[in-house]
Symmetry: C2
Subunit: 209 residues, 2 copies
């Protein structure tokens, strides 16, 4: 049953990333997931339930691919990887970023998603804040900065830059460069510039599946 | 004739801000503007033409209300006002921000708007860059920072924070506070903290019409 839920949610993210939230019809989702509409209603009650679960699903997908950042050798590098991993041209990431942006944009018009979106956004900012505190404790970030402010700004900047990238106003490389620079500006320059270069270079190339 | 165009464009921004780009039907726009669909086609050719012109219109409306920043007594204050004026709860600004966000979000799915969006975005970043250069020349910003990077990041952050505000993930006050802090972080602390407080306080209160 958990598998069926997951299968439906994977299909929902695909449909949203292709056609937007407003393109998501239950019939279309059923066809894409290869299940009956009845099963979808059984698991998610209604369209609002589907969208809320899709937002959670996008979020846990993002956590999964940014988990790769946790083997970084220090919290500052981990923060940088976690944020930069949100802006890369791997198909899963692009799909996730488009779906996240769409869900946020649709919440401007409909209130259904706002609570889930607020909770998820706050948790993401808090993850960044925690890494910034750890970087401060390790002497890798300016001790005078406010970690909560910096975490909220950096994650909001990821959203702003992602949307510019996805809508063709800026290149992937430029968006990553600006984000990387923002971390230096927020946390203060560190001696880890070489590490940073490695992070930027370690991004999958656009041709990678 | 210019008046009719403007009247149609004002209606287009209203419709987009209410129902999103995907809610914009030519018949609905005609009703909202109080003109015939034929007149709309005459002026804007097709739906893509309407959306491109609407983007230009949103942009020139924003220029008009941020022009109020130009009587600031120095370029740093002017930059701060210009950016903060994009996040305030005046109805025109909210309508404009919603429409701008929607036009950007829809460009993720459709390519029609991308050129106009890219040009407009670049011009906005360039305005910020110019003010940052002037602030540097006046000794009001760290001379070591890259004005183009800072300008692009600050305008992208305005978009990210606006979207969080409009989708209910952050309060207006918090968004403004974070943006104001970002200017200090990007340009370096100046002695103008008092001026900054004034700018923040000068924002219209939510209850203002």
């Amino acid at each position: 049953m958990a598998d069926r839920r997951k299968q439906i949610m994977e299909a929902a993210v695909r449909v949203i990333a292709q056609d937007g939230v407003r393109g998501l019809r239950v019939e279309k989702l059923a066809a894409e997931a290869g299940v009956s509409t009845a099963l979808i209603y059984y698991h998610f009650q209604d369209r609002a339930g589907i969208l809320r679960s899709a937002l959670d699903h996008v979020n846990s997908r993002a956590e999964r691919y940014t988990d790769g950042a946790s083997d970084a050798d220090n919290p500052r590098t981990q923060l940088e990887r976690m944020l930069l991993l949100e802006i890369q041209d791997a198909p899963t990431v692009r799909e996730n970023s488009v779906a996240w942006g769409e869900l946020r944009a649709s919440a401007v018009f409909a209130e259904d998603l706002r609570d889930t979106l607020r909770t998820t956004t706050a948790a993401w900012g808090h993850d960044a804040e925690t890494l910034i505190r750890q970087a401060q404790a390790a002497g890798l970030a300016n001790p005078a900065i406010d970690p909560a402010d910096a975490g909220e700004r950096l994650t909001a900047l990821v959203e702003g830059l992602s949307e510019r990238w996805l809508s063709g106003s800026t290149s992937l490389e430029r968006a990553r460069e600006l984000l990387s620079g923002a971390i230096d500006v927020e946390l203060g320059e560190s001696d880890s510039r070489q590490q940073r270069e490695q992070v930027v270079r370690a991004a999958p190339s656009p041709s990678e599946p």
